[in-house]
Every structure is written in C-alpha cells, then in structure tokens.
C-alpha cells in the first residue's frame, strides 16, 4: 500500500518535471490559446451582439466582404468576388441597390457548396429572428428603414414580403434593395451579424425553413432557442470542434478551406477569471495571448518572451452625460429636489451654464494620466479618431476653474452660486475609471464654492443600469463601442432625440435630428463631412455631455506568435484578432 503510494507520488512528480524540462520551447506549436474573461453568449450570428461571441463566429463563419487588413474604411471580397462600388456598377448610382457576385467553389464545413440562396437565406433568417437586444437592427435600418420587426409593445409590424423583397438572388449574385441610401451598409455587411450560414444545415437542425407561413414562429426566440446557439456551419478557416459554454471553445482547422488552409491547427479560447492564474499561464506558455486589465500592465513590463503592442486606438469612447430632465420620483440623488442648497431641481442641467461649469471643472489631463495611465486621448466629440469625418480641429473643453466659476455664477440667474447645491454621482463599483472621473468632478467643483456638494457613490452594475434607464441619474458616465466604423453609429446614440444616451438625457434638438437624417442618407462624402462637422460643433455648443476618453489599447502575445495585426473593428481586436493570419514558431 505504502509502496504504491510512494510510486504514485514519484510518478506525478516525474510527469510534472518532464513538463518543467520543456519550459522555454514553443509550447503546442500548432495550437493557439487565448485566455480571457468574456463569456460567449451564442454562436448564432443573428443573435450575437457581444465581442466574445463575435470573435468565435468570425473564426467559423465568413461574410460577403471583410476588412482590408488594418483598414476600417476599405474591404476585400470574401464570399463575394468583388466589393461593390458605384464605379464597378455593383452599387446603383442612387445608392439603393447593392449587387454581390457570389464566389464559386466554396464549401461549408458540412461539405455543402455555397450558393447565392445561402446568402439570401442567411440575411433573411437574421431579419426573421430579430431578437430583443440583438444586432439585427443594423440590417433593418438600411433595408426596411425601421429599427426592427416589432413595435414597442412587441407586436410584429412588418410583412414577410418586406424581408423577402429586400434580399434577392439574381443569377449568381445576391442583390440588396435599400429603403434609402445608407453609406455604412458595406461596413454592416462586413460584420459577424451578416455571416453566411448553410441553409440546409440550419433547416436540418430545426431552424426556419425559409417559408412565409412559419416565419413568425422563429421571430424573437428565447435564449438558447436560436437554432445556431451551440452549433455552427460556416465556410471559415476553422471549424467548431467543441464549445463548453462558460468554459472554453475549441476550433480545428478547416483543411477544405477555399483559400490556403490556416497555419494553426487549433485555436482555443478559454475563460480564466483570476488575473494571477491567467498571467502565470501566459508566462508558462500555456496561453499565447491574454486579456490584461489596465491596472496590471506594470506586472508584465520588461518580461522576457513577451511582445507588447501599445497605443492601439480603439473605436470606443467614454463620456459624461448630463440629464436634462431627472426623474424625481423617489430619487435619492437630487436631495431636496429644489435649488435650496440641499439638492437640485430635476431640470438642473437644462441650464447651459451649469453644463459649462461642469465641463470646465473637469481636469481632462489628470484624468487621462491617472485613470488611464496616459493610454487614452480626449475625444473631440461623438465622432472619435479612427472614424470617417473625424475632425481633429474641433474645439474641446479643457480644465479652467475660472471659466467654470464664471458659468456657475451665471447659472440659474445667480441663485445657484448663492444657495449652492447638493447632488450624487454614481459609478458602477469596480470601474476605476468612472470612479476617478466622478472624483475629479467632485473635488474640482466643491473647491469652487463651499456650498457646492457632490457625493459619489458606487453601485452594482444592475443598479446603475436601472437608474440610467429610469432617468434617475444626475449625470452618468458610460462608454460606447462602435458597431460599425461610421459617424452615424456615434452621432445617433449621442445626439438624436431617439438615441440611446440622448433619450435617457432628454436631450432634444430638431436641427440635430435633421442633420443626422441627412448625414445617413447622403452618399457624397464631401457633403456628409459637412453635416458631421456641423453636428460635432453643435455637440460642443449645446454641451449635452463631455467626452472623457478614447482608450488606447494594448495587445500582449508570446514572442513566438506571428502574423497578428490590429484592426479596431474586429471583435476582441486586442486579443487574438483574426486567427487565420496567425502562426507560431
């Protein structure tokens, strides 16, 4: 018994030491391992709207066109043979018809050949499915001119014919009919929600059969009921080998790929929540790239065997939004609810001088240095660097306590300065950047007048969301990540009266709404630029919010990894990126 135990212990140690001996060599040379924290929601392209799912889908499925290397404004054909343009005649001069000739000789992972019908089916299926909180509004807007298949009460408001007519097969091509010109349409089609799936595979697995009479049954399914939740059949360079939801996903090379097969045999994305464990796996070579939270970047500085790419501009930004019409009902964040020094009235921020006072009180430089360790830039408005029509010359607010004081003295007819105010700014606990931003507002504003009092308070994410959407927050700090690289995707949520943020702020400007409409329907880039420059200027003048940061990201990889490149619009771009381009050795 004792002998057996000793033999067992020695055996385990020997095996362990044999691994120890391997240290320093390229581990698992044909397998790429990414260790991260994000859970994949679904493998269904029509469902997935999170970056973790997007990264997985992009590995298995393909779109008609794809981003050209690091560029976010030009494309290469993938399942189409050409990128449509007015010049090559594949986009009609009025910008309403897009024709995609479909590539021949492409096979799905189940061996079925790709046909134009698969492309038509994939887009129509996405529109049929259209789940709440999903990405398919991006197809609805250009194709049907509405944001989805249901109204606010959940009733279906479209006919199947609307979807059917929007996408058609013509010979070897697929034609999209747009309701109105929509310049970012190609960008939308280059993303995972427009991935092409095999119709036969979907139908065999209980999905929508492509018929008119049953389409409503497949609309807005419950979580997990979407056909492609955990199965996949694309044309991509990797096939799905296994997905253990919440644990890891494994892809294996598609040796029958229409281009040259990938250099890697396998790709594994696994969830490793604990930072130290993740770091040790990275250092031991058991992970080739990892997610590194900003607060830990110093721990990997100067470590041998690791390559770091810095200052990678992301297509995201964080801002502070002022609430013009705070919901006073049972609201603990506005004190007395009056301008009496013990609270604020619900329309406190409707006074522009209050907003300007806040805007000039914020020390942007200190914030970027302290909260982002200098790895972020100040946005010039909703249209951030990296987007078309970004205007680097646009004026921005800066820290100027004198100007802040000036505006606060003018606010509310001078009453504010005399009486003072008290309000609460919330941030979601654990979010160091938002906490720092809230502290800067508090410290700098309280320093101007002892009657100004700001309390900052951490709350759980769920509480934060509740208070934002119910309009209870005085001002809220939150970020936005690009769906597609076009200014429309930012000016709409930031400025339109129905936009995500502006609606919660009760910010309305009919001129803005008109400019946004004209901007998205205009195909001439010169004219579009004019609209977006005006919108940027209005945002500066109206000051419904202030841009705080546009993060600059990092990418960490083992030095044996080759072929990585950064395209900010790719899901989880700072991690594995596009696995097809990677190799090890």
């Amino acid at each position: 018994m004792k002998k057996g135990l000793i033999t067992g212990v020695i055996g385990i140690l020997m095996v362990g030491l044999s691994f120890f001996a391997l240290a320093g060599e390229v581990k698992n040379p044909d397998t790429f391992v990414e260790a991260t924290i994000g859970t994949i929601d679904s493998l269904d392209p029509a469902w997935a709207y999170d970056t973790a799912s997007g990264e997985a889908i992009q590995t298995i499925c393909e779109t008609l066109i794809f981003w050209k290397g690091e560029r976010t404004d030009s494309f290469v054909p993938l399942l189409a043979t050409q990128v449509p343009s007015v010049e090559n005649g594949l986009i009609s001069p009025d910008g309403l018809t897009y024709t995609f000739p479909i590539r021949k000789g492409v096979k799905f992972h189940n061996g079925e050949p790709l046909t134009p019908e698969d492309v038509e089916y994939s887009i129509e299926r996405a529109m049929v499915q259209d789940r709440d909180g999903g990405p398919v509004w991006m197809l609805y807007e250009p194709l049907l001119g509405i944001s989805g298949s249901r109204d606010a009460e959940g009733n279906i408001v479209i006919k199947f014919e609307d979807i059917d007519k929007a996408v058609e097969v013509k010979g070897d091509s697929v034609v999209f009919h747009l309701k109105k010109p929509y310049p970012p349409f190609l960008s939308i089609l280059a993303n995972t929600w427009a991935s092409v799936v095999n119709k036969k595979f979907v139908v065999e697995n209980g999905g929508w059969p492509g018929t008119k009479d049953t389409w409503k049954e497949y609309n807005n399914p419950a979580p997990g009921k979407e056909t492609l939740h955990k199965i996949a059949c694309g044309t991509g360079p990797f096939k799905l080998e296994r997905w253990d939801p919440g644990v890891e996903i494994v892809f294996v090379r598609n040796d029958d790929y229409w281009r040259e097969p990938a250099k890697l045999k396998r790709v594994i994305i696994k969830i490793v929540d604990e930072w130290t464990t993740r770091k040790l796996m990275f250092l031991a070579g058991d992970a080739d790239t990892i997610y590194v939270p900003r607060q830990y970047i110093k721990e990997l500085e100067g470590v041998e065997g690791i390559r770091v790419y810095k200052d990678l501009p992301s297509l995201s930004q964080g801002s502070a939004f002022f609430n013009f019409k705070i919901n006073p009902e049972g609201n603990p964040y506005i004190g007395s609810g009056k301008l009496d020094g013990k609270g604020i009235p619900p329309d406190f921020f409707s006074d522009k001088d209050v907003r300007l006072g806040f805007a000039y009180s914020f020390d942007y430089e200190t914030y970027l240095k302290d909260a982002w360790m200098g790895e972020a830039i100040q946005p010039t408005g909703p249209i951030i660097k990296g987007l078309p029509f970004y205007n680097p010359e646009q004026e921005v607010y800066y820290y100027d306590p004198k100007k802040a004081e000036e505006h606060f003295k003018k606010a509310w007819g001078g009453e504010l300065w005399k009486k003072g105010f008290k309000l609460t700014i919330l941030y979601n606990s654990g979010n160091v950047q938002r906490q720092t931003a809230a502290s800067i507002f508090r410290d700098n504003i309280e320093a101007l007048n002892p009657k100004f009092r700001i309390e900052i308070r951490p709350v759980e994410w769920a509480d934060y969301v509740r208070d934002i959407v119910t309009g209870k927050l005085t001002l809220f700090i939150i970020g936005w990540l690009a769906d597609y690289p076009d200014p429309h995707n930012f000016v709409y949520p930031y400025m339109h009266s129905e936009g995500t943020f502006s609606k919660w702020q009760s910010y309305r400007n009919p001129i803005v709404d008109g400019l946004i409409k004209r901007g998205i329907e205009e195909v001439n880039p010169t004219i579009r630029k004019r609209y977006y420059d005006q919108l940027q200027m209005i945002y500066y003048i109206d000051v419904p919010g202030v841009g705080l940061h546009q993060p600059l990201g990092r990418h960490y990889e083992r030095d044996w990894v080759k072929g990585w490149y950064y395209n900010p619009i790719l899901p989880n771009a700072g991690l594995g990126g596009y696995f097809y381009s990677l190799s090890k050795g």
């Binding site: 385990i12 691994f19 120890f20 970056t51 959940g154 807005n220 058991d286 769920a462 509740r466 990540l481």
Partner: protein
C-alpha cells in the same frame, strides 16, 4: 429505520418550497431594469432594454413569475442560465463532476489528517507535539485560501514552470478526453481515465489536483483537528477509559477502541457539513485554479444576478443539506449503537 429515511427524504419538498418562496421574496426587491441588466452583455444592447424586460416578463407581478417558474420546474425546466449560456439543469450536470472530483480527493485528506492530528494532539496534551499541532492548525485555518492558493500556484506553476498547473487537465489530455476515442462515463476525469485505462490521463488529472487539494486540506483540516482534539480530551476523562486502563488494557487499545471511536460523533457532524460545503463548490479554490465547478458558476451567477442559476443553486443546496443531515444521523446510529432512529 426505512420509514425514518423516507420521512426525512420527503422533508426535502417543503424545505425546497419554503426556500424558493424566500428567494422570490428577495427577488421582488429588484426592479425589472436591474434584472434585465443580467441580459445586457454589451452596452450597445441598452438601447433595447425595454424589449428585454418584456421578453423575459420581468415586469410581471412577482407571484406570476413564481407560478410560471414552478410550472416550468415541475416540467424539469429550471430556466436558462445566462452566465453558463445553457439551461440550468444542463449546466448543473456539466459543472458537478469537477466539484465532485475535487471534493472526493480533498475530503479524505481533510478528514483523515484532521482526525490524526486531533487525536495525536489530545493524546499528547500540553506536550510539544500538541503545541506544534495546534499552532499548525491555527496557522492553516487563518490562511486566506486566496492567498495560499495563489502562493502555491506561483511556486509550483510559476517558479517550477508547469510542475503542477491550474485547470483540470493539460491541453493534450483535454483534447483527448473530449475526442471520440475516449468514453465519458462520469465526466470525472480521474475516474473516466481509469475506466478507459488511460493512465497518462489519470496521472495528468492527478497532477492538476495536487495544488487545489493541498490548499483545501491545509485550510480546512484545522477545524476537524480542533473538534477531534476537544472531543478526545473529553472522552479521555470518562470513567470507562479509566476503567479500561485500570483493567490493564494497553494504551493503543484504549485509544483506538474506547476513546477515538466515541470521540468521533462531533467529527462526523463537522465532516458531513464540510463535505456538503465542498460539494457546494469551493468558490475561491475553483477560481484560482481555474477548475470550472459549481462554486465558480454560482459565484458568477450571484455577481451577475443570474436568477435561474441562483434558484437552481438554492434547490441543490436544499436537497444536499437535507440528505447530509440524514447521512449524519445514520452514521451516528452506526458509530453509537445506543442511538436509535425512528
């Protein structure tokens, strides 16, 4: 005895019913928006939060939500776990084997080492062995699991690169056990490896168990040790022990037959709850060593307000603790024939 067991098992039903009502009462404190936030995986989805509320009936009266949940539970559907991206029941059976494996390997070490150290300390009361053992126990009990686990990982995985790694299996083993060539009988890696006669998998799985088992043993066995020691000291002072010694029984027999066995009852109680606790998932150990078990899942569910998963956890715990109490009672009767059940 049979009727006693049946009665105790049936007790599970009212316990579960009561607990589920309490949980739903707590749920009523959360607004629909708060609960909808669970389904928001990306800030861009916030634009459609009202649709999410409507879809999941989060704005329905809480009693309606309870009845529809009960209805589904009776059909065997415990709902959808957002954090596990799969149905609760499926997720439960997916994560259970990892927790069972860790518990099966840790519990014997914790209990046996605890009993051994406890009885040794008691027999050598107030001698250096006793002092050292107690000091070790106190240090072990005081060690934060988080800190100790990470320390072990840094030494045996970080410093000795890859000697005892985190997770449940290495890359090649993991790929192999998930291939068609490997039969999954129990989904417990060590047991399945033995059943498949794949010794290299077995050794690899053991290698991945070393550090979490050491962590749990060092931290947890102090409790068993302390209980065992006090219980032994109490029994050592009893009349029948003095009588046994007076009759000339040798010390080994006295300790083994008369003292240790009688001192076991409180240890059984503690061990039962300890095992139930392990089965409930050891959140920190599972997180540090990246072993995806029940504790890891439920921790994520609690943090992200994954209500169906939390309710599933409550149901499981209700069953587990009722059964644990039953087993403890049965063991009492076995250890001490004077105890009669019924």
């Amino acid at each position: 005895m049979k009727s006693y067991i049946i009665r105790r098992v049936l007790l599970v039903i009212p316990v579960l019913f009561g607990v589920s009502i309490i949980i739903f009462a707590i749920l009523s404190l959360f607004s629909p928006e708060q609960r909808a936030a669970t389904f928001i995986t990306d800030v861009r989805q916030l634009r459609d939060i009202q649709g999410v509320i409507r879809k999941h009936h989060l704005d329905a009266p809480i009693y309606m939500q309870y009845f529809s949940w009960i209805k589904e539970v009776l059909k065997g559907n415990l709902g959808w776990s957002k954090t596990a991206s799969r149905p609760v029941l499926e997720a439960f059976f997916y994560f259970l084997p990892n927790t069972v494996e860790l518990s099966l390997f840790s519990a014997p070490f914790i209990i046996l080492i605890g009993i051994y150290l406890g009885s040794t300390a008691a027999v050598h009361q107030d001698k250096s062995v006793d002092h050292i053992t107690r000091a070790i126990a106190i240090i072990g009990w005081s060690l934060p699991t988080f800190w100790f686990g990470l320390l072990l990982l840094m030494i045996f995985y970080g410093y000795f690169k890859g000697l005892f790694p985190p997770e449940s299996l290495g890359l090649n083993s993991s790929l192999y056990v998930n291939s068609k060539d490997f039969m999954r009988f129990t989904r417990i890696n060590t047991i399945d490896a033995l059943l498949n006669r794949e010794w290299w998998i077995f050794v690899d799985a053991l290698r991945h168990l070393v550090l979490p088992v050491i962590t749990l043993t060092v931290v947890q066995c102090a409790l068993v040790m302390r209980i065992m020691r006090s219980s032994m000291l109490e029994v050592l002072g009893r009349g029948y022990v003095i009588t046994a010694r007076a009759k000339g029984a040798d010390e080994k027999t006295v300790i083994k037959k008369h003292v240790r066995r009688n001192a076991m009852i409180p240890v059984i109680t503690v061990s039962g709850y300890l095992f139930a606790g392990l089965m409930n998932g050891v959140v920190i150990t599972e997180t540090i060593f990246n072993r995806k078990g029940l504790g890891w899942w439920w921790w994520r569910a609690a943090v992200q307000l994954d209500i169906p998963a939390i309710l599933g956890a409550v149901l499981f715990n209700g069953v587990l603790f009722v059964l644990t109490n039953l087993v403890i009672d049965l063991l009492y009767a076995y250890i001490d024939p004077r105890i009669r059940l019924g």
